[in-house]
């Protein structure tokens, strides 16, 4: 497998972008990434376009990638439509990386686009519900917010975590988002505001949850042999790992699915969790970060509470997480999220993240992006490791 570098990244602002279509969002993000890369776009050999809910929200059920890339002027090359619920963007990244690493193409585009606002919240909620098995848990009426709330509650019981600590993580993400011009919400929040907002599923309150969002993000990947012209520091894809649900994930002695994905990534990158300087994590609800830090082996079992208290993952901490604001503050246009995480880590590793730049010149960044729910486990999870 060849070395693969990130030549360019781009993203739209995330938010309630009612005047923008999938095509508008896709064009903006794709061309931002292409221009950032400095590569002649005619050299793009393959495009992976991620979009999760376009069929239900806009009616474009089929060939979404081709219709989105049409106004980008991109045609003729292989275009693959990618869907893996909220992990669609990371799946597109993983496949684009593989296309270049395998030697099949020298330049690949990964683009994630989502529109969730459509003027009818019940239509949006019905679309989101299709990321569970519609013949099983969907028929039971299982809600995602409930699934995450139960996981957080169990963690709280097991390790004596307090509500204030859940709020602190939420405050961290919103503070970081306030420094991110692309974020949907750019207002710092206090712990009191977080805890007093509407209860969704105790202990999760409204301000702890990721919003509904529109937006797009993209990456241009290039083979090492074509990467000499890239300015320093060059960001390399050290690993990209993708796994699926484990129906036995809840059983005693069974490794969490996220740990499986992370170990594969650490192994492929020849690094350990202690080498990670910065991480973008999939905070569907901000408090879930505690479980993510542990399952990614960044901290030990039960240490996440201490990490919150000591501010380890804050912007000025030892291992900043979600410097972008995370899903809660930056927003979560499902298929765009994975690629926005790639953009954030790339900017941080390059030293161009502006007001939210982590000062200590991070060199190795980790991205975790998960989506869907099947058999009470996340349907798809990706972990990527990028390094300079």
């Amino acid at each position: 497998m060849r070395d693969v570098f990130i030549a360019g990244v781009g993203m739209t602002t995330f938010g309630k972008l009612v005047d923008k279509s999938l095509k508008d969002l896709g064009r903006e993000a794709a061309w931002d990434a292409i221009e950032d890369s400095g590569i002649d776009p005619r050299r793009i050999g393959v495009a992976y376009v991620a979009n999760t809910y376009g069929g239900l929200i806009t009616g474009q059920e089929s060939v979404r990638g081709q219709t989105i890339l049409r106004e980008c002027g991109i045609s003729c090359i292989p275009i693959i439509n990618v869907e893996n619920a909220c992990a669609s963007g990371s799946t597109a990244f993983n496949q684009a990386w593989l296309a270049v690493a395998s030697g099949q193409h020298d330049v690949a585009l990964a683009l994630g686009v989502e529109k969730l606002y459509c003027g009818d919240l019940s239509k949006t909620l019905a679309a989101l519900a299709t990321s569970a098995d519609v013949m099983v848990e969907g028929q039971m009426g299982i809600v995602f917010a409930g699934i995450y709330a139960m996981r957080v509650r169990e963690h709280m019981r097991k390790y004596g975590i307090a509500r204030q600590q859940l709020a602190k993580i939420t405050v961290k993400n919103h503070f970081n988002g306030s420094l991110n011009p692309k974020a949907q919400y750019r207002k710092p929040l206090s712990a009191e505001e977080v805890l007093s907002s509407r209860v969704i599923a105790d202990p999760i309150t409204l301000l702890m949850t990721a919003p509904v969002s529109d937006g797009a993000a993209a990456t241009v990947l290039v083979a090492g042999s074509a990467a000499e012209f890239l300015s320093k520091p060059k960001v390399r894809v050290m690993a990209s790992s993708l796994v699926s649900y484990n129906p036995m994930a809840g059983a005693d002695g069974e490794k969490p699915t996220l740990t499986r994905a992370a170990e594969a990534a650490y192994g492929a990158a020849s690094v350990g969790p202690e080498d990670i300087d910065i991480a973008e994590l999939h905070d569907v609800v901000a408090p879930i970060e505690m479980l993510l830090w542990e399952q990614l082996l960044l901290c030990g079992p039960g240490e996440s509470g201490k990490w919150v208290d000591e501010g380890v993952t804050e912007l000025a901490g030892l291992l900043p997480t979600n410097t972008s604001g995370g899903l809660c503050s930056k927003g979560h246009p499902a298929a765009a999220t994975g690629l926005a995480q790639v953009a954030e880590i790339t900017w941080q590793l390059r030293g161009t993240a502006g007001a939210r730049q982590v000062q200590d010149q991070p060199r190795i960044g980790l991205i975790e992006n998960g989506g869907g729910n099947v058999a009470n486990d996340t349907a798809a999870v990706a972990v990527h490791i990028l390094g300079t």
Partner: protein, 133 residues
């Protein structure tokens, strides 16, 4: 005439109210799955798959009450994780308003709709085994 809303989730006695949870057990590795799963996830074969009755009782090992519910369900919306005999854990909606971890729960069956042709579709929830006063 009735059938389970979730395929492979219930036994099918003539009266739906006598139904019990149904799963599958792989004769090769002993893994149990709910609902009935035709091919074992571990062994990747269906040769030794058997139906297994999982009963009508479970212990509540986790639960949450949510203020949001999908279309067709009302709030407050209670869901939880039940541990059935043999250690199988399943997600289920809960009936009732007062829950406690470790509570004994029993299966509650209800008609949730109709298939084309008029067959009743039967779904399930769990409710506390003892009604508390």
């Amino acid at each position: 005439m009735w059938q389970p809303l979730i395929r492979g989730s219930l036994t099918q006695p003539p009266d739906y109210r006598n139904a019990e949870l149904l799963g599958s057990r792989c004769g090769q590795c002993d893994a149990v799955f709910f609902p009935f799963q035709p091919i074992c996830f571990r062994c990747l074969t269906g040769e030794k798959i058997e139906r297994i009755v999982l009963g009508k009782k479970g212990t509540l090992i986790d639960y949450v009450i949510s203020t949001v519910a999908p279309p067709g369900f009302s709030v407050p919306h209670a869901q939880g994780v039940l541990e059935l005999a043999g250690g199988v854990k399943i997600l289920s909606l809960l009936e009732g308003a007062d829950f406690e971890l470790g509570m004994e729960m029993v299966l509650f069956l209800e008609i949730r709709g109709e298939a084309p042709g008029g067959t009743a579709l039967v779904g399930f929830r769990f409710r506390p085994a003892e009604v508390r006063v």
